[in-house]
Structure formats: C-alpha cells, structure tokens
Symmetry: D2
Subunit: 133 residues, 4 copies
C-alpha cells in the first residue's frame, strides 16, 4: 500500500476533532507504554557492552513505530550491579533504571514525551515534556 493511502486510511478511524498536537502526543505516549512493558525484566549488568546493546535495541526497534522521530534511551549504570562470575549476581531492567525520551511528529506538531523515575513520587513518571506546533 502507498504511504499516502495507508496514513489516510488510518486517519479515518480518529475522532475528527483531534488536532495535530493531540495526535503527536498520542503517538509518543503509546511508545512510552510499550517500552516499559516490553523491556522491563530483561537481565542486565553494568558491563558497558550489555548496557549499550540494550539501549540500542530499544531505540532502533521502537523508532519503527508510527510517527516516531527519535527514541532516546539512557540506562543508569550506577544503579546496576556489576555482574561477576557468580551465577546469581546480576540485575533486571526496571523502569527506575532507565530514562526514555520519545519524540513524535505528526503534521506540523512535535511532542517530546519522557519517562523518568521521580524519587519524590516513588514512581516512574511518564509526562509530556514539550509540545510544539
């Protein structure tokens, strides 16, 4: 199917009152929810090769989702154990060990949505960092 026609066909399902800003926010938010629930639980260590491989895999796969302009993933190595030769000594990826920033663009609108652990809330907060039109 042509790009033009696939986009148009999809757009028909959306409430007609939805603005370009709203659509960009929608597309970004889906990817935040997706990253958290797809990748938490992955075994991890502070080894830079492991950390880099996971950051890269999340970024490149999630940028395939519709209307993504950029996905940035930063895993906080300081919060992760250094794996040793011991068999039971490694960590698993948690929402609180990563910071994720997704930029989605739809039409002339661009939304940057972010996931970050907020100690004062004791929660991995997802929020709309910036929307421009």
């Amino acid at each position: 199917m042509e790009k033009e026609s696939a986009s148009k066909k999809a757009d028909e399902y959306f409430d007609k009152s939805v603005s370009e800003r709203e659509r960009a926010i929608f597309e970004g938010a889906i990817t935040l929810g997706a990253i958290y629930h797809q990748f938490t639980g992955v075994p991890i260590s502070s080894d830079p090769r492991v950390v880099k491989a996971v950051e890269q895999a999340i970024k490149l796969t999630m940028e395939l989702q519709p209307y993504k302009e950029e996905v940035e993933v930063k895993i906080n190595k300081d919060q992760i154990k250094e794996a040793t030769e011991e068999p039971y000594n490694y960590d698993t990826l948690k929402g609180s060990t990563m910071e994720v920033r997704v930029t989605a663009k739809y039409g002339n609108a661009r939304a940057t949505v972010t996931m970050k652990h907020i100690p004062g809330l004791n929660y991995d907060l997802m929020f709309i960092e910036r929307v421009t039109m």
Copy 2:
C-alpha cells in the same frame, strides 16, 4: 502522600501548554501501548474460562494505571484454537485477536482510545476514538 499533592507534583513535570484533552489522550495512549507489549505472547485457547481470565486480568490490572476510567478487553474466541489433549495445540495472544478500549479522564476531558485489527491495513491500529471536553 496525599492524593492532591501527588497529582500536583506530577503535573509540574508537564509542559504548561498541555490541555486537559491532551492529557486525557496521553494517559489513555500509554495504556494501549502497555497492554499490547505486556500481554501479547500469553498462551491462550478458546476455552471460555481461559479467555475470561485473561480479559479480566488485563482489565483489572490496567485500570490501576493513572487516570483510567475504564479498560475494556474483548478477545475474539473465533480466531483462537480450541486446545485439546495434544501437547502442541494452542495459540498465543496477538494484537489481532483482541480489541481493547481505554477511557481516560483528566479534569473535565475524557478520551476513549482503541486498539483493533484493521484488515485493510494489515495492522493492529491504535486510534483516538473519541475525545470530549
């Protein structure tokens, strides 16, 4: 932490230009992405007890996410194998075998966002079905 203060603290992270409609859309979209990436891959059969248990677990857990008013999940039994005594005869849950509708409410705005397989797109489309303010 008091409800009031937790909400307020979180709100401070959001771009000040974000409207109540935009916030409701944002909160709904996160949950669509979350459901797809958390639950696809779960073994499933057309046995009504199994189907009901999965629908119920998705609904009740995902309604815990912030600002959810209702999560509705409908697994299409007709697309799922009837499990038999054979050991390798069952299905796994796919985006295309479920229809999900999430209603999020923030302030005076309410957004209903939906995931549904669209045969013409060959895609499990997530879209904003309705926003009201």
Copy 3:
C-alpha cells in the same frame, strides 16, 4: 494432527539419550522462565479481586503449555501496596512478590519446579523441588 503423531514428531527433535525425568524437568523449566518474563511488570494492588485475577490468568494460560500437569501461583499480598484513589499509588508484579510451582509430567516421570524469592541470595531462585519416576 493426532495427539500421538504430534508428540512423536516433536520427540524426534530431542537427543536420543534424554530420559523421561530429564524431559519432565525441561518442560517444567520452560514454563518458569516464561512466567517470570511474561508477567513481571503487570500493574498490581493488594485488592483481592486484582490478585485473584492475575493468579488465575497465569495459572490457566500457562497450563496450556506442553506436558503441564499443574501450575500454582501465589502472589504475596503483604508485599503489595493497597491502591487508593491517588493516581500514582500502585505496584508492579515482580519475581519477588510471587511464588510459582509448576508440575510437568512426561511418560512416567513427574517434575515439580519452583520459583521463590530467597532473601539470603537476594534472588528469585528457580529450582527443581522434586523429581520422581
């Protein structure tokens, strides 16, 4: 495909030296790994309806995997927050908040394999609790 022939076809892929005990252990272990990596990250609260729904969904879906005789899941409510009306106050399911016991039967052998948090190891240990033949 007939039960007999599906099982036989699958068996041909296995190393001929594999015993019935070994096969039962293999089938049980797959399901332990599956449960941990499929379900951690699910939102949860100490509400008995939520806890019951998740336990039931894990049990009924994972019993569909080959050669499972029984899957038992116990979520430890005492380690989970009571969700309130606050939007950011709930937990997510972790390996350490559940205890899982899978019994697999192959031929005359039966293996019970278990996942349980071991405080002294600071690890959600998966182990072979009992094998009989």
Copy 4:
C-alpha cells in the same frame, strides 16, 4: 557473597537426586522460555542494523542468567518486512522468526537446548538438542 557460597546456597534448594545433566537441562530450558516471553512483540524490520541490535541484545542479556555458556540468536530476515517510510509497515518479533540455541554448563554436564519453528507441527518447538556429560 562469594561465588562458592552463593552456588552452594542455591544448590540446597534442589532435590538431592538431580544429576548434573538434569541441572544443565533445567538451566538451559529456563532461558528458552524467558527469551520467547520477554522478546516476542518487539517491533522489527529487515534492516540489518535493527536485526543485529536485537540479536545482540538478546544474546548479551540472556548470557547473564545462571550457568549459561552461550546464547545464539538468529533472526530470519527473509520472513520480515522491509520497513519503509510508511507509518504502519513493519513487523513484530515472533517465535517463528527466530532460532535460538542456548548452551548451559553445570559441573561436567553441558546441555544445548534449541527453539525453532517446525512447519510440520505449526509450532515453535523447544527441544533438547544435545546433552553430554
């Protein structure tokens, strides 16, 4: 904790009749179940950078699990769409698009366990390819 003592502490939870072969099979099988249920659903395209990043992330993270000697992951690019500029044109990772081989070593035993789609079974079969002692 010392390597020696962590291993020993864990071993105490295992049924005393478990052989080194059985233990190697157990440790390998957990990782097969884990890979399938952690990574299916990840967006993917046939772009070699994307494919390589996912293969590498699965390998490096899953080799952290206990008693893993090697994890090999091969994604079959021929079964995956080439992503284009169209927003809804990409694939998601399925059990049937990857072949996974895990080698676990415990004591003097080594088990190679494999996941591979078997067209005749219409199933992503996990099997014990080879055990040596």
